[in-house]
């Protein structure tokens, strides 16, 4: 690794044993940094870890930008898609601090979309994800939370280090509303991705730069006035569907909406899409932090559209339109 370090610091110099030995000796005299997670080896400095693990980012992310990313604090609420987003974010940003929140344990049915094995079943999601993050970046301070109560959510916002961006991957409506109210008050952007079949729906709410009188991009008007504690299950499903929307869904995904509570327990999700969604969230975070023009709105990454030749054929469009119309009439009842 010292050789690799020398190489990335001197990419223009052909390897020279004498020069390298001098470098190696100089590095051996440096006092080793303290790691949050111990490894079998150590390097001369935290800078060395940082340089090696970000060398391949150059110059897609330059040094100044990398420092900005490193100093950004993101809170990831919900660790299914959220686990992919958090770990991908850490991989690319090498952030020094992160907050992860999820009250759940890993169940066997999570294994299709959380990058973990059977030995993790029964373990707390925050523990598993914290472990992965610490292995990726042994200098990252991971603050993990498991209650998800309103008080805890407020503390996550207010306690040091203050969060710069929030990623919402939870199902709990009340929590989602509270995130946005606090984000609006503190002018923090909210990013949320839903994996829907083979497609990803990304919502960006820039409470930091644009006035946002309405939450959730106003997809569900007056959502914050709803009393969720007495909301029937059917109404909850209606809300989810209205929030996610029917646009760009495949026929099979739309069919699944009929099946929930019947042949299947809940909303189906796929591992590949969860992974893509995590990458999309991490990329969105990077672009927001680095000041690119990412504005509030809903964005679709439709792999069906991209890959499948006849996805937008008239026949398939009509089929989807028919199914959507059936669901809408069911929801009205």
């Amino acid at each position: 690794m010292i050789k690799e370090l020398w190489s990335i610091r001197n990419p223009h110099i052909e390897f020279d044993e004498k020069i390298y030995r001098r470098f190696k000796r100089a590095m051996s005299l440096k006092s080793k940094p303290k790691l949050r997670k111990s490894l079998d080896f150590n390097l001369p400095s935290e800078k060395a870890f940082f340089e090696l693990s970000t060398a391949r980012n150059r110059n897609l992310i330059n040094i100044e930008e990398q420092n900005k990313l490193r100093n950004t604090v993101v809170a990831f609420f919900g660790l299914s898609v959220g686990s992919h987003a958090a770990t991908t974010w850490i991989m690319e940003s090498r952030a020094g601090s992160v907050k992860i929140i999820d009250p759940d344990i890993i169940s066997a049915t999570n294994l299709n979309r959380i990058r973990s094995g059977w030995e993790s079943v029964g373990k707390k999601k925050v523990e598993v994800v914290q472990n992965i993050i610490s292995e990726i970046n042994p200098f990252c301070e991971v603050q993990s939370f498991q209650k998800g109560t309103p008080d805890e959510i407020r503390r996550i916002f207010d306690d040091y280090p203050k969060i710069d961006i929030l990623v919402d991957e939870v199902d709990d409506f009340e929590a989602k509303i509270l995130f946005r109210k606090l984000a609006r008050e503190k002018r923090i952007p909210v990013v949320s991705a839903a994996d829907v079949g083979d497609n990803v729906i990304l919502d960006v709410e820039r409470y930091d730069i644009e006035p946002q009188p309405k939450l959730f991009l106003d997809r569900v008007p007056n959502i914050d006035k709803i009393n969720f504690s007495h909301l029937p299950e059917r109404e909850r499903k209606k809300l989810i569907i209205n929030l996610i929307g029917f646009e760009k869904n495949s026929e099979r995904m739309i069919d699944s909406l009929f099946s929930i509570g019947g042949s299947i327990v809940t909303w189906p999700q796929l591992g590949a899409t969860a992974t893509v969604a995590g990458g999309l969230v991490a990329t969105t975070l990077k672009k927001i932090v680095l000041g690119e023009k990412v504005f509030s709105g809903r964005y679709y990454l439709s792999l069906d559209d991209l890959l499948v030749q006849d996805f937008n054929s008239l026949k398939r469009k009509n089929e989807r339109a028919k199914k959507i119309s059936q669901i809408k009439s069911l929801l009205k009842k």
Partner: protein, 343 residues
């Protein structure tokens, strides 16, 4: 807010914040001199971050010459020039500087970290301070006048051997002739490259430019109206014509300066820039003009041949022509301090 693009040159020593209780104000004041330093194509590829008595100098890769300086050697030399100006200013006002190059302990990865401490050092830098705001790169023809050896020896006093950069002043005609041929070869190589010329043309400016960077063509002796076509002129400059112009200028220069180093790494490049800037200011103190020409050291083939011509084992890092000049060009534009400070 900066009123116009030459305003940074008007920094005055009377503005030194002697009554300020914040040392950061003093650091900020010294940076106003740092940004007057020369840089390749006047790209000013630097950013500064102030923390108390410390300034960190970062390379600004957005201002790098991605094609002609893909190692970032010239960029780092430019940082060294800025560092030298900073140290000269600090020394003048009674502050010692402690410099670290790419310190291992600094996660932000600055190229240089400079701390200042109040202390009268009596370093030679004090003598160079008045010339910081007068310095220009003089690309005009020089006079047919010899630079005496004792003057060159005097100029050499202003560099520190601690920087480990070797300085070679070449006056011997046989060696100069060889060097002229090498510089010529590097010019032909560069100006036969359309991408090089495209990149260069993006940094030349008309003489009426309002931009805070780049090279107005008055620095090349091109008058106002013609300079309006600056990028077009450069893009379409035939290599043979550029070669003829540069050969003429080299033949009229009494002395060549070559800086060389045992190491060819970022630290050596920064130190090369420091040494050049000290020498440049010292030359100015002695009425001598300088004009760097990077091609001969950036083109590997000619760099090796230059090394052989000088019979040295160290790699040449920097080349400039020197001489007495009858006219001094106008200074080049500068970006404002606020443009280069990181918060």
């Amino acid at each position: 807010m900066q009123k116009y693009s030459y305003e940074p040159w008007e920094v005055n020593e009377d503005e030194f914040p002697k009554d300020s209780t914040s040392i950061a104000d003093i650091v900020r004041f010294f940076i106003r001199y740092a940004i007057l330093a020369p840089s390749s194509h006047n790209t000013q590829p630097w950013k500064f971050k102030i923390t108390g008595n410390i300034v960190k100098i970062f390379p600004d890769f957005d201002r790098s010459l991605v094609y002609s300086d893909r190692l970032y050697r010239e960029l780092h030399i430019s940082l060294g020039c800025a560092l030298a100006n900073y140290c000269v200013a600090a020394d003048y006002f009674g502050y010692d500087t402690i410099v670290e190059y790419y310190p291992e302990s600094d996660l932000e990865n600055p190229a240089v970290v400079v701390g200042i401490h109040k202390k009268q050092t009596n370093r030679l830098g004090k003598e160079l301070f008045p010339f910081v705001t007068q310095r220009t790169t003089n690309r005009n023809p020089y006079l047919d006048q010899k630079i005496p050896k004792d003057v060159l020896d005097n100029i050499l006093r202003y560099t520190s051997s601690k920087l480990n950069i070797d300085v070679h002043f070449i006056q011997e005609s046989n060696v100069k002739k060889k060097i002229i041929d090498l510089v010529d070869e590097s010019i032909l190589f560069a100006f036969n490259d359309t991408i090089f010329k495209e990149e260069l043309s993006s940094w030349v400016r008309s003489n009426y430019t309002k931009k805070g960077d780049g090279m107005p063509l008055f620095g090349f002796g091109i008058p106002g109206l013609i300079s309006v076509f600056a990028p077009f002129l450069i893009k379409n400059m035939p290599a043979q014509i550029q070669s003829k112009i540069d050969k003429g200028l080299l033949n009229q220069s009494d002395t060549f300066m070559v800086l060389s180093s045992k190491n060819d790494d970022k630290e050596a490049w920064i130190k090369t820039g420091e040494v050049y800037e000290y020498l440049c200011l010292a030359c100015l103190k002695n009425g001598i003009a300088t004009a760097p020409m990077a091609g001969v050291v950036e083109y590997d083939k000619t760099a090796k041949m230059l090394q052989a011509a000088l019979e040295i084992t160290e790699r040449p890092m920097f080349f400039a022509r020197m001489g007495y000049a009858s006219q001094s060009p106008h200074r080049t534009p500068r970006r404002s301090l606020d443009d280069v400070l990181l918060f």
